[in-house]
Symmetry: C2
Subunit: 397 residues, 2 copies
Amino acid sequence: MSYNIIEDGHISSPAGFRATGVSCGLKEIRARDLAIVYSQLPCRVGALFTTNLIVAAPIFFNQAILARNRDAIRAVVINAGHANAGTGQPGLATVVECAKIAADELEIPRDSVLMLSTGQIGVAPPLDRMREGIRRAASELDSNGGRRAALAILTSDTRPKERAFRVSLREGRTVTLAGMAKGTRMVSPHLATLLCVITTDAPIESRLLMRALDQSVNRSFGRLHIDGDMSPNDAVLVLANGAAGGPPIIDGSRELGVWQQALDALCHDLAQQVLRDAASGGKHILITVRGASNDAAASQVARAVARSTAVRHMCARNLPDWGGMLVAVGASGVDLRPDMLELRIGAVTVMDDGAPVRFDPTALVQALSGPEVELAIDLHTGAGTATVWTCTTGMEP
Amino acid sequence: MSYNIIEDGHISSPAGFRATGVSCGLKEIRARDLAIVYSQLPCRVGALFTTNLIVAAPIFFNQAILARNRDAIRAVVINAGHANAGTGQPGLATVVECAKIAADELEIPRDSVLMLSTGQIGVAPPLDRMREGIRRAASELDSNGGRRAALAILTSDTRPKERAFRVSLREGRTVTLAGMAKGTRMVSPHLATLLCVITTDAPIESRLLMRALDQSVNRSFGRLHIDGDMSPNDAVLVLANGAAGGPPIIDGSRELGVWQQALDALCHDLAQQVLRDAASGGKHILITVRGASNDAAASQVARAVARSTAVRHMCARNLPDWGGMLVAVGASGVDLRPDMLELRIGAVTVMDDGAPVRFDPTALVQALSGPEVELAIDLHTGAGTATVWTCTTGMEP
């Protein structure tokens, strides 16, 4: 393994980053609700935003900034309590004004600030509180302040989610990679927006950052399917400031491969922390689909199974009744050959060649009883595969 | 109104029909679990079956029968307890054998029997119990036995669902129309298959029956969205035996229009009985979508809203927080203009022209507090409309 967990690591563990989280009255309860992540050097940026057609004002703003500046971002301001989505023109004005305040307070260029929000929809964050929060946070930035930032971005989450790795790119060359996230099950009145900010002191250009992020998110956050909704605020950012020094990490290099591995592991780790928070003591359900005509079809089947109330009941209650899996696969909208279908729960095959397989009900109950249930579907019609994670929350045990 | 409810009416209220339900050990508890609906005269048939790609054995069987005989069906045998879906070749053999037994017992042609099943998936009904049940039911058929049949087809339903109308086609010409249904929320281990059998003594040819049924089901059962799954056993049948006499009801006639109206009302009534059972004391939620590019797009939006956990939380808990509606609309996969969007809860408009509307939170809480909540979405981009019913079951209040 070329990366190691940094004990008590956080978003400002990589060299040249500082962060903090303060309380400025945006949340209903008194708690930290505004975070800044700041870099002393300009950052290259990779970014992925929500695919919901309703896009929150800060996401619009970021898209405009990144269209002209992907190489010299200096700060990310994140508020919880108000999503600033569905807020129309006034919401956009608020985010533009807040970014200006942050740039002025931090004494950095106006187009070097990104903005993220999470919380209630339909309400723009009050400008006076945002101004006060940004000022206080800007004055309290600290290279040890990452934990405070990770706390400030939470809404209905029950715990902060952060992780930092020391990555050995090769003998004698080490960089740091860190991330913080928020996200849990969608619980009204807060929609469980997924936010993730990743920092690294490695020198990587934005095109490579973007490609690397795309791969890592597809294999981690992209596999979560909890309550099935995509918020207008969802965003994953990676910022690379190069403060670790050394020559740029270039395309096709062994260094890039190692760094990508570490990014994959970091995103997987944070996604599992989100899943654990969403499951809140319930079971994790891992759904794997193979043999679909392509990966998109496989993903459609996996998501249909994840969405099924009957499947989640089966897992929550240890019921040796796999009918719900079959129903979800058949209703997924994906073309399939019923006579080729194979279904497995843990190590127990319950259907093969489209016909039920005689199994030991006790073994099946056992396969369902652990903290993690694996459901495997093989359509046997192609090479498409997909993996999706969900959980039993919301089901009576 | 040209139709009236028949007090204590049931599936065998129309002339020439007989029915019953018996107990033959198919359900886990001792209860009626096998029904026969029989007609003394050959029936024209209209039929709609599941669109799930996993099709239960009896549905396969019916499709084969109806491909060669749509004009002389004499009986429908329905069992509860075993769905006979996902049962492969042995399941098909069972249903063929059971239909043969029924035809022989009832002394009717072998290709005049239709078969329906509901219950656990992956298990074919035991042939010996089916044989015993069919024999007993065949010997107990009764023109007053409809209620017993309506009871025998239930699984996790809490009450039988039936309705009968006397329909005045014109001065001096009256026919009878009746239906029974099963269906509720999908609760493991039973998948809430939707079954509906409709009988009438009117003389109508099968092509017109099919068209009429299609319209009525689209406006009733087709609008239910509860737990989001479609079972491999779903079926709606209408049987017309012509026993009321008189000339055939022809295409374009006023008689056909009146009969269609009554069929619409009957299906709506039975669908609302299913919804009431599914809601089990919770609220009904009516979702209407207007202004989509076409009806299919409108339906896609309505179903996305119905599926939203956040929306159902809002309704269950009377929370004046409409963000979940917006999120579901934006993530529905339907193309839309965010700046045209209009959202309404009861009489309270919460978003117009894509911007939030200031509203009285007390009025909104009131709009959410009744036994039925109406959510209206207008995309303002076309003429497509859709209506979907769901309920708050499964949400903690």
